[in-house]
Amino acid sequence: MNGYYCTFHEFAVLEYESIAPDYNTRIMWPVSLKYDGGSWTSLTNGYKEWEWSGHEPLNRRIGRFISTVRLFQYYNMSWASNPPDDMRFQLQKRVAGGNNSDWIVVRMYYPFPNMVEVQVNGVTIRPISLLDNSGEAPVSTSTCGSNKFYYFNRTI
C-alpha cells in the first residue's frame, strides 16, 4: 500500500452552485479545478439524484459543488458542458468572522460573448479595464469580487 504525506497547510473549501433556471435539470459537471503551477486537477461532481418517482429518477440533480482548493492560488475552472448562466461562489468560513487574508482567484471561460456580471451582495463590481500590453492593474486579492473580463476570449 502506498501512502502520501502532504506538507501544505493552506487549504480551504470552495462552495459554488448554479442558481440559473436550469440549476437542477442540466448536467454540466464534472467541474475541473487546477491552479497555476499545480500538479493535480480536482474533479467535482454535482449532487446525487434526489427526487424519485417510485423507481424512476426525475433527473433533477442540483448543480451544487464543494471542492477543496489551495489558498493564495490562481485557478482555472472548466466545465464538462456550458457553465451555468448564473452562479454564486464563496470560500467556506471556518470561523464566524471569516478570514480576510484568505483568497483565491478563479478564471472561467464562457463559450458565449455576453457580458459577465460580478456582484457581491447585490452590488455590481466593475471589471478592471484591460489596457495595452496587459498593463492594467492586477486583480485585487484583498477585494471580494475584484475581476477582469477578457471579452475577446470570453474569460472572466
Partner: protein
Amino acid sequence: MTGEKNCLVRVSLTNSVQLTLHFAMNIDDFYRANGATRLVDRVCALFGIVDQSRVKIVSVYTGSVKVTVMFSAALPPESESTTATNSSGLAEMQTLQTQIDGSISSGLLGSTLAEDGLSPLISAATTLIPMHPQDNSEGSED
C-alpha cells in the same frame, strides 16, 4: 474572492450591448480628461441609464484610443434567479441598441462626448449580444 465574512460572489451572464468607440486623440489626453469616468457619465445621461453599474468599460487600447463599453441588462434578484426569465432584459437591450445607433448616426453621441473633451469620435459601432434563446423565452419548460 476572499475569505471575508460576507464575501458571497455572484457571477452571471447577461443580455448585453457592446459599444466600440474609436477616438482620434492621444491616450494620455484621454486619461487627463478623466475619460473613463466622463464617458460613463455622459453615456448614462444620454441614454437615461440610472444604474451606472450596468455600463462597464472593459478595455481602453491605444490606436488612437479604442474603448469598449459593455451595457448589461438588469439581473433578476438572486432570490428569483432560478425562476426568472431574461426576456425583458433582451427587449431592454434591443431598445438601447436602437437608441445608441440613432445617436451615432445623428452625431449626438460624438457631440455629447466632445463636450467633455473626448473628441473627435472617428467611429462607433454597436453589437447586440443576446443570451441563448431558452434563457430569453417567456415560458418555462419545467
